[in-house]
Symmetry: C2
């Protein structure tokens, strides 16, 4: 019997679940809402029920499944199987997530941080294309990161390995970050960061710009507005994209100088800007990277989109159970 892997990407609003073949092929994927009421006590039970229901639909029993892997939104101790904190889910500190999963699903379980799972997913089936040394950075509402060296995730001593989004790129006078410090990559390279850079330009200059008109009309601009305007040759918007490319190129070059990964994979909503962003990032990357890194480490746009997390979680089942 061909067994299946279960990959779960646990988010604060929705939970993505998938059945995959042992070769990483997505056989079936679906989503359920994440119920964070009552300190999140239903979250794991709901996942277990959803899996049972889906097995029923396929007329399969539980022994069809090898095990369950989960990417969780917070720092994780993978050895103990605990999540240090998961504020968005309502859980206590040090929730024994692996044990809860095993009890409720009856399956062997393995957990990791969600950004690390995305990196594993891209390594296995995405832009990483099997590279054993890989950095993955996800430019979304925040900036997440995952680092893989010698084929395995770098967790560091307290689960904070891969915090690419908190590389300090503005040492003095940077924006305040949610993490408590200032000048983090996340403050300028997330979707909100791009808007922040644009607003700063709009407020500190009187340069004509379609973004100024947009702001006057609907009061708020989006990261997409900025990239669209830059594509239409709006000078102010082009300046903002150049700033973003500078900060991202600097941070990724310095991660590259530390790790010399085969690939640096850029994902998340902001990465959908495509070449207008990637070309600039590449230029600054080459400027700030050690010569050997410049020629051997390559930047790529992520290819798996929202599936990276469940695929990486399934990789954990295949390789860690």
């Amino acid at each position: 019997m061909e067994k299946w892997l279960v990959g779960v990407d646990l988010g604060g609003t929705t939970t993505k679940i998938a059945f995959l073949s042992k070769y990483g092929e997505l056989l079936h994927k679906w989503e359920i809402p994440t119920d964070t009421s009552e300190n999140g006590k239903n979250i794991i039970v709901n996942i277990a029920k959803a899996i049972d229901r889906k097995l029923g639909e396929f007329d399969q029993s539980k022994d069809k499944l090898v095990g369950i892997g989960m990417g969780a939104p917070g720092p994780v101790d993978v050895t103990k199987g605990i999540i240090y904190e998961a504020v968005n889910l309502g859980w206590d500190q040090n929730t024994p997530l692996k044990d809860l999963l095993e009890v409720e699903t009856g399956l062997p379980a393995v957990i990791d941080n969600d950004a690390n799972c995305a990196a594993l997913g891209e390594m296995w089936k995405g832009a990483g294309d099997g590279a054993k040394d890989l950095v993955c950075v996800t430019l979304g509402t925040g900036v997440g990161g995952g680092v893989i060296t010698n084929g395995d995730v770098v967790h560091g001593v307290r689960g904070a390995g891969g915090e690419i989004g908190h590389i300090t790129v503005v040492p003095q006078g940077g924006f305040q970050c949610n993490c408590g410090k200032t000048g983090c990559l996340e403050t300028v390279a997330s979707a909100t960061g791009v808007v922040r850079l644009a607003n700063e330009q709009l407020d500190s200059t009187s340069t004509e710009s379609v973004l100024r008109d947009t702001r006057n009309q609907k009061r708020e601009i989006s990261a997409k507005d900025v990239f669209d305007a830059a594509r239409n040759n709006d000078e102010l918007a082009k300046g903002v994209v150049d700033q973003l490319a500078f900060y991202l190129g600097l941070a990724l070059a310095n991660a590259g100088n530390v790790l010399n990964p085969e690939k640096i994979v850029i994902g998340g909503g902001v990465s959908r800007a495509g070449d207008i962003l990637l070309n600039g990032v590449n230029d600054y990357f080459k400027q700030f990277a050690f010569p050997t890194v410049r020629t051997s480490t390559h930047l790529n746009i992520a290819t798996l989109g929202n599936d990276a997390g469940v695929i990486g979680a399934a990789w954990l089942v295949k390789n860690k159970i």
Copy 2:
């Protein structure tokens, strides 16, 4: 019979050789000059002869030795056992160092980069104290670095993993680095970098300073002069040490944000400045490190000095042969 490990630290001027127990105890260490004449063709033969001679002194035969490990001054492909380039030694590109060692010594051999060997040495027997996630930075004539994650060296795709010295800390208007780019940590945190910072201050201000007097008298100041003056409350020197601490704290915090290592070990001549440097670096490190990294990653001064390389090379013999 208790067998010995051979550790070799190959330098451009001298080669350090040591016999160690399998527990990493230094039993005997000595140095020979590195003969770089005739494109370095005698280097490996001289090492083989030196080992044979030393075995004779101890009245031992070759089967006393488990194997030979070497740290080499250049980027290395550890799998193929080649050194990509070693300009200082006169060797051709892609010299098959492992094979040469095995042929000339008759021992199984394993090689790595010298900075990586120093990191392994500090991990095994030095300030790393067994930490499996560790960054080592050596502030000498240049700035070397080694990165260990999950207990193993990060080489990256082309041997440039751990190039901490080439983290860009001055993105705009930085000093020219030997590597070809500008603004590298090495340009400000090596022994020559500290002097460069001091000269810049002396040239661009008219602040009174004992360093100005020194320069007027003997025309050249040293990194030690700068630290001594700072300890004696010389304002200009204190400013230079603060600049150095800022750059080093920033680079190490960003390496910490990527890796969250248990320890960051600072070695090399400049690190002998001790607390006057470490305290400042710690302050900036805490300012630029992600909160979890700030509390869980610790900075330490290296403890093995010049022995780190041979001890790390012996670790390779113990673990990779």
